[in-house]
Symmetry: C2
Subunit: 336 residues, 2 copies
């Protein structure tokens, strides 16, 4: 039975709401699925104290002590190298040593990305390990791959992103024959910058993905593709503009509602429906961003994560393990 559990090491000290929301998310994950075991990594006494107020199966949450913390002010590379007893380093070593299948953190993105590569390491044959958040669309969500720290990608990287993203969406999220598209400035095959022009024919030649061609940025929110491939610079621009513009527009709607007595009443009447509609556009529901192509799964959640996002990130790891994604990555990327 112990062997069938998906074991997740969780950085209990990372993020704006640590440790309380992280601990709460871990407890909720364990209570929701009996397939999960969590290693809560961080300051032992703090975590044991925090856990006291929750009810859960004691055999499936284990506190692992880590005395140091990496903050967003630390240089990621230096922090991972020198703070070897930080919650991120200790938790990643659990994955490296095979004690955990996956790692979840709301901590410093830089440290997670660097630590994952240095400690867990890439699958042999994987050139780059992309960070691939799920972005909300009108009808659901799409995997935006890559939004990581390595900009200036090569076409061979993008091809691997397309393959890994495709497997992930199919086997972790159950999307049949996921549609793969490359971000471009037009739909015609001859459009694009140097990187896209080089990559397009390579994607077209892949038998093992459902490549549907280019996607213009205006179609991204429109449920046009399931796996959206781009280099990390463009991915970061898309991801952050998504967040910024969504926030600005929703803020403007709210401000306009508050601006008069009449519109305030109107606001009360639409509140419930509006909330339901916009809930879809929130990333919390899907959990954090997986970092793919490593010897294990690493999931980075928002720094502002609450328990629900932590819980959903932990639960995502079950399919990853059960579907043997790492093995599929190896077969798919090496054989081609």
């Amino acid at each position: 039975m112990e062997n069938e559990l998906t074991k997740v090491s969780v950085d209990a000290m990372g993020g704006d709401n640590a440790p309380l929301e992280i601990v709460k998310g871990a407890v909720e994950a364990v209570n929701e699925s009996d397939k999960i075991k969590v290693f809560l990594v961080g300051k032992e006494e703090v975590l044991n104290e925090t856990l006291k107020s929750f009810e859960y199966d004691k055999s499936r949450i284990e506190v692992v002590n880590a005395t140091e913390e990496i903050t967003c002010d630390d240089s990621p590379v230096a922090a991972v190298r020198t703070k070897t007893d930080s919650s991120i380093s200790v938790a990643l070593r659990l994955v490296k040593e095979g004690q955990a299948d996956a790692f979840v953190s709301a901590g410093s993105t830089g440290a997670v990305l660097v630590g994952a590569q240095l400690i867990v390491g890439k699958i042999k044959g994987v050139e780059r390990s992309p960070l691939a958040p799920l972005i909300p669309t009108r009808k659901g969500y799409a995997l935006l791959i890559d939004c990581g720290a390595n900009v200036d990608a090569r076409s061979s990287h993008l091809v691997q992103f397309a393959k890994m993203g495709s497997i992930y969406m199919r086997d972790v999220f159950g999307i049949k024959n996921p549609r793969v598209a490359i971000v471009n400035v037009g739909l015609e095959e001859e459009k694009g910058n140097k990187l896209v022009k080089e990559t397009y024919p390579l994607l077209k030649d892949c038998d093992d993905i459902n490549f549907i061609g280019s996607i213009e940025a205006r179609e991204i929110p429109n449920d046009f593709a399931d796996v959206i491939v781009c280099d990390a610079f463009v991915g970061n621009v898309i991801l952050k503009l998504y967040e910024g513009l969504g926030k600005t527009l929703i803020g403007m709607v709210k401000e306009s509602i508050k601006s008069s007595f009449i519109s305030k009443i109107g606001g009360l009447l639409i509140k419930k429906k509006l909330k339901m509609a916009l809930a879809n556009m929130s990333s919390d529901a899907y959990g954090g961003a997986p970092m793919l192509g490593l010897n294990g799964l690493v999931i980075k959640t928002h720094g502002s994560s609450k328990a629900i996002e932590v819980k959903n990130s932990i639960l995502q790891c079950i399919s990853f393990k059960e579907q043997n994604i790492t093995e599929k990555f190896k077969q798919n990327l090496v054989q081609n």
Copy 2:
């Protein structure tokens, strides 16, 4: 007096709403400002017929016959070369020959971009002529430069974009000491892809612009900078995501309002305030996108332009001429 007029040649056949909305926009511009003269370029008999229903100063709208039309299905390069009697080609020649100061079109973006370079030509010393739309922000608008057709830019191009954009925002839109920022994936100077890392120190060294550093995409809607510099691939992604996400979110708000009787009533109560708030986020108010660095001004408006956008685009040309922007571009780009 004739000499002091700003003369604008207008592609009366381009865009989804041609010729009616284009003609109407031209008439409104002439009626609003006595500094404007318009050459309406297109099929003579159609335009004369359309003009009949409007009141305006007959001496300031002149129809110029052009028998051909370039459609969005035409290859831009071929169309500009072979359809020499198209409204775009004829109107651009008026600028080339100095009969008009500026050109406005809602027609094929590709044909306008190609035609502007081939027929009007770049100012000597300008390496690339960027297309720079105004994008709405929470408090106003910012110039996004470049969103044109030339991707794979070099750092020297981006430096020229920053200078031209700065002059344009200062002298055409009256923004004092416009803040210039470069699109990046983080705020630190060492962040970025190869292009951004090369360009950042060059911008920092420019004495004649107010360079404030990097801008992350999430801050773009937030009135963080007045001139936002990037290569055309990234610019196109930003511009189109702006349109797409705005449309999707506003659509979701509307759908949620329509989804029940109660929320419909609420919707009626907030309608006026909501409309006012979102009007800011509409591009119509500012007119079309200028293409800078040419021997004259070229303005590309949306294909779906109505009279108001055409009018505002034509009126933008007055400051461009009166402030002698072309001369300032020459001085600023050549001397450095």
